[in-house]
């Protein structure tokens, strides 16, 4: 498990200045089956006080189940959940002090925004005046003070999720749980809310578990991202670490775009690909040495390949996708392999489909996966 100590220290600092609360969370060896489906298979994660950990993975990988077990809506078959060192497995959801924001709009339709935010305080028997004051402050914090007396149906999707966030934070939760809170929103709102959630979370120093299938969301918001697959944690690391040094081929291909190029192992930790021999990156858990002999796939990111226009090169440009400052160029190599190469848009303008190019690999360590 990789812990980014610099980030943790940072989060701690913020929490202290905000006068917040530092709650640590440990999910220890959680397993959960639904009938024949194994949703969680020995999942262990430690979340430091004030940290935002994102669980990322394809649908059905168990990330939501993990969050729901922490919330108290599901129970684990085996394993335990520790909050501040105390096993809370037997504590019902209502007494766990966890604020949750759901994927679908979860505001109570019969209450206006202010009463929605104040509901948790009401359950805690906070007096009316104090409750309204606090709920008002929280609405103000998410920028919705003018909408206090509006009912959920009068609010847009993004506004509803902001009220839901304020409602979850109103109870000063020990842990904030976010279950794909942005996936029902359109792109622009999603981006704004993403930043707002992160800013608030850092300001309050609330330990947060965030579940998403959107890698961009996870990478941009989290202190650490845990990539899950089939109920297990493949890797948990800081976003840059995850992107640059994926532990397994699955992580490499799930996070960001990855090219697969045919290569051949040479022994001594070297692999030949595209007529050059480069060192192999130290491998994670999912491939044993035996699998990695002979013909293999070499994994390279689009920005990890270089390309030059040249007569009779080793590839032909087939398509271009404009992504703003860079353009992703699709190139057909011999052997019916298509790779994507990123090129500055200004340079890519001249590359018409059919142009002959030469694709090469700089001599840097690469990730290798068994040929499927």
């Amino acid at each position: 498990m990789t812990t980014n100590t610099a980030r943790d220290a940072d989060a701690n600092g913020l929490r202290q200045t905000a006068g917040g609360h530092g709650t640590s969370v440990v999910l220890d060896n959680l397993s959960r089956s639904f009938g024949a489906t194994r949703a969680l298979d020995g999942l262990s994660i430690e979340i430091a006080p004030g940290e935002l950990v994102a669980l990322l993975g394809p649908s059905g990988c168990g990330k939501t189940t993990a969050l729901r077990i922490l919330a108290g809506f599901e129970t684990a078959d085996t394993g335990s959940v520790l909050v501040d060192g105390r096993d809370i497995s037997s504590v019902p959801a209502a007494r766990r002090d966890m604020g949750m924001v759901f994927q679908s709009y979860s505001l109570f339709p019969n209450m206006n925004a202010l009463d929605n935010v104040g509901f948790g305080l009401r359950m805690r028997k906070t007096g009316t005046a104090e409750r309204r004051k606090k709920a008002g402050e929280l609405l103000d914090m998410v920028g919705l003070a003018p909408q206090a007396s509006q009912y959920p149906h009068q609010l847009s999707g993004g506004q509803q999720q902001r009220v839901a966030l304020a409602r979850a934070l109103a109870i000063e939760p020990r842990v904030l749980l976010l279950d794909e809170p942005l996936s029902a929103l359109d792109a622009k709102v999603r981006l704004q809310l993403r930043e707002q959630i992160r800013t608030l979370q850092q300001r309050l120093g609330t330990t947060t578990l965030f579940v998403t299938h959107d890698q961009e969301e996870a990478l941009s918001m989290a202190d650490r991202v845990g990539v899950m697959r089939q109920g297990r944690l493949e890797q948990i690391a800081a976003p840059d670490e995850l992107y640059d040094h994926p532990a397994t081929a699955f992580v490499a291909e799930f996070v960001g775009v990855m090219n697969r190029l045919p290569g051949r192992m040479q022994g001594g930790g070297m692999v030949t690909v595209l007529d050059s021999t480069v060192p192999v990156m130290r491998q994670g858990s999912d491939a044993s040495e035996a699998d990695l002999a002979g013909d293999v796939d070499v994994l390279v990111r689009p920005e990890g390949l270089t390309m030059q226009v040249i007569e009779n090169g080793n590839g032909i440009v087939t398509y271009k996708t404009f992504l703003g400052s860079v353009t992703r160029v699709g190139i057909l190599l011999s052997g019916d392999v298509t790779v994507q190469v990123d090129k500055a848009s200004s340079e890519a303008a001249a590359l018409a489909p059919g142009t002959s190019v030469s694709v090469a690999l700089p001599p840097e360590p690469v990730l290798v996966a068994p040929r499927p």
Partner: protein, 282 residues
């Protein structure tokens, strides 16, 4: 100048749209008129046959007040039992046994296909002895009869609600089961529950077969019995009961709709609890 040109451009398509909207409006009125004639002509004819004097006579007729009173009491008892039974059942099925929803729909429709006599015998078999011989036995039978309508009304309300999510949200905020049910679930089902009430009341106030088989003089039975002595008075009584029932249902509907509209819900109608769509993103 530019502004003038712009408003003209905007106005032209609007006028076209208005014309397009007006055309079906004419047909709407035609249909409404035809339906009005179909429903109102018999009422007017009945009214003319009965004469004004008959209405005064109805009220002084023996048995009028007692039979109407019995029907209203039965309506109240039936409605209370129906809601108390159906509401928690429907909520529980939606929340914990969603797989059984289709089965529940099938079961609750049975009273419509089973002949009334069978239902009466069935209820008699299980009814407590103290109830037998009292008209409140009828209430139990009406509960069975009202079940298909009441369950469907409540079911429709629950479908319009993301029940699982709001229950979980409530519980994560610290509310226990009962608090969640009373503060979160029930207030969002008022429209649906009122629909169920309207349907149940309408059913009880108009039911004849069972009451007459069980030899109780409810209001519909009284009307029938009296029609054998004086046609005019019984027709006047029918019209009166129609009007009273209609007033009653309108009162529930209007009150319920006003209440639910305030909270963003839909209109209370006899068969569905509609819900306004939430606005899209942003």
């Amino acid at each position: 100048m530019a502004a003038v040109a712009e408003t003209q451009v905007v106005k032209a398509p609007r006028r076209a749209a208005r014309q397009r909207a007006e055309q079906p409006a004419i047909w709407r009125w035609v249909v409404l008129l035809l339906a009005g004639v179909f429903f109102l002509v018999p009422l007017i004819v009945a009214f003319r046959f009965a004469g004004i004097k008959a209405f005064g006579a109805v009220i002084s007729q023996s048995g009028f007040a007692s039979s109407l009173g019995l029907s209203v009491r039965l309506a109240v008892v039936t409605t209370v039992i129906t809601i108390v039974l159906m509401l928690p059942t429907a909520v529980y099925v939606h929340l914990r046994l969603p797989g059984l929803r289709r089965l529940m729909e099938g079961i609750t429709i049975l009273p419509i296909v089973i002949p009334p006599v069978v239902l009466i015998v069935g209820v008699l078999q299980i009814a407590p002895g103290s109830l037998k011989g009292t008209p409140y036995l009828l209430a139990l039978e009406y509960v069975v009869l009202a079940m298909p309508f009441a369950y469907r009304a409540i079911d429709a309300g629950l479908r319009a609600l993301d029940l699982k999510t709001i229950v979980e949200a409530s519980s994560s905020l610290g509310a226990g089961g009962t608090t969640t049910l009373l503060r979160v679930v029930l207030p969002n089902l008022t429209t649906a529950v009122l629909s169920a009430v309207v349907l149940t009341v309408a059913l009880v106030l108009g039911e004849y077969t069972m009451a007459s088989l069980a030899l109780f003089q409810t209001f519909p039975v009284w009307i029938y019995v009296n029609s054998q002595y004086s046609g005019q008075i019984s027709v006047a009584a029918s019209l009166l009961s129609l009007f009273v029932t209609w007033l009653f249902l309108m009162a529930i509907t209007v009150a319920g709709t006003r209440r639910s509209r305030r909270k963003g819900g839909g209109a209370v109608t006899l068969f569905t609890a509609t819900r306004q769509e939430t606005r899209g993103n942003l």
